[in-house]
Amino acid sequence: MIPREFVYDIEDETLGIPPQTLGASLGESSPGLQSSFDSPIQPQTVQSGNIIVPLIIPTGGHVRSGQTAYDTGTGFFLGDDGGTAKFSLGVGGSTSNNVTFDGTTLTVNGYVVQKVGTFGGDGSDGALSITSGTTNINASSAEVVIRNYTSISITSTGALGLTNPATNGTLLVLKSQGNVTLTSTATQLIDLSSDGAAGGAVAGPGAAADGNPGSDSSLYIDTSDHFGAAGLSTGAAAGGVAAGQQAFYTSRTNDLVRKYVALIPGSGGGSGRVNDGAGTSGVGGRGGGGLLIESAGALNFSGTINVNAAAGGNGTASDQTGGGGGGGGGMVVIIYETLTANTGTINKVGGAGGSSGNTTTGNGGGGGGASVSAGGAGGSTSASAIAGTAGFGTNTGAGGSGGGLNGGGGGAGGSHLIIQNTAFT
């Protein structure tokens, strides 16, 4: 009989067993060893070496540490319990800090800590360098597009653009494990203009359509409507409400402990209205896109980023047609680890409203907002066919209202923030 407290070491010749024989003895050909592991009455201690045969826990057997039985004590238990294979981990019997499988049901009591990503991303998309012209990424109608670069370099005359945004607009997330160098002299080195939510579509006689909100339910930053309203037969269509500024750390019910950045694409402008009969009103302009850049290295930003919105369309001249409202400007957040330069410009201007197709009964759409003050209102009744002016400025603002009958409202404006990372790891 082999002693129960036994250290196997296949290189220890003092055992008196040739190595080749010992290797075989770990299988079923060694009656002594087999007997030792088959014995259920005493625990075995393995202090070194490798287990190279399957370990099958028979009825009544188990592996445990800390826990004295299934779901009893603090530690773990894995094995047979009353003829059923079970598993428990954590504090036995706890309703807030353990995991159990009772043979039928897997139960997790407590919080599941899910790693959703590292600041700066995983670098799986490699190092991006653009030095000339524009490379446009196809968003494929996705609301969020994420790229994980090891570094980002848009220099010389290079530019990066985004096409084919989602109906509710697209948020482009550029993560970089290293430096982000944005020094291109292109007119816009990152161009997300008109990549926000779609404007209201042109509708038939007596109708118009609201713009789309620049977010889906997972991206809402508040509960207001930021899109421009459809042109009306009486009164001015409402412009989008300015987005509420959110705390960097949210207190949203389901995200009490989650750190996130409140960021959405710009909303669309409302379409103009066709009063009756022939003619076509102006389509609402798309909002500007949303952009989040995470730089786990140094940020060197001296160029121009563009998340401007599109202008509303014009009504045709044949009848009482309203101009479309301009889209709302987009939003940009750049978070960096260290700063080399931050002298760049971020354009997030709302789109101008479209002009009316008729000088007496149609009115221009409202401009999209992009400033502390609202976007420009559409042309008034007394000066119809004058387009709304574009919003501008540095923070979010309300969209301009339609100029009167039939003019669409503008989308609410965008904002931007460039800040050093102190929150994310």
Binding site: D125, G126, I130, S132, N164
Partner: protein, 95 residues
């Protein structure tokens, strides 16, 4: 070790940018690199942008004058060789 993918101008084939991909990235294992794989819809160098217009300005024009329909826009671009001069001839006739 990296694999360098060159982003080239649609027209003159000049290299406009690069993507240096980590060779051991599981995300890309067994994949064939192409503009489609990297979701690059269009790339044109600065000189060709002056000659043939920008992709985004044509996308916006199509939205306004025709419809907010990306597939329709791409078909229109193909018919017109991705060039603004030809694109304009087709789109300006749309009422």
């Amino acid at each position: 070790m990296i694999i360098r993918y060159e982003i080239k101008c649609r027209f003159c084939k000049k290299v406009t940018g690069t993507l240096d991909i980590p060779i051991d990235s599981r995300k890309h294992k067994g994949k064939t690199f192409s503009d489609e794989y990297f979701n690059i819809a269009d790339s044109r160098c600065s000189d060709c942008e002056v000659k043939y217009g920008t992709f985004k300005e044509m996308e916006e024009e199509y939205r306004k004058k025709v419809k907010d329909d990306y597939e329709g826009f791409i078909q229109c671009m193909k018919r017109n060789n991705y060039k603004k001069e030809e694109f304009d001839k087709e789109v300006k006739n749309v009422v």
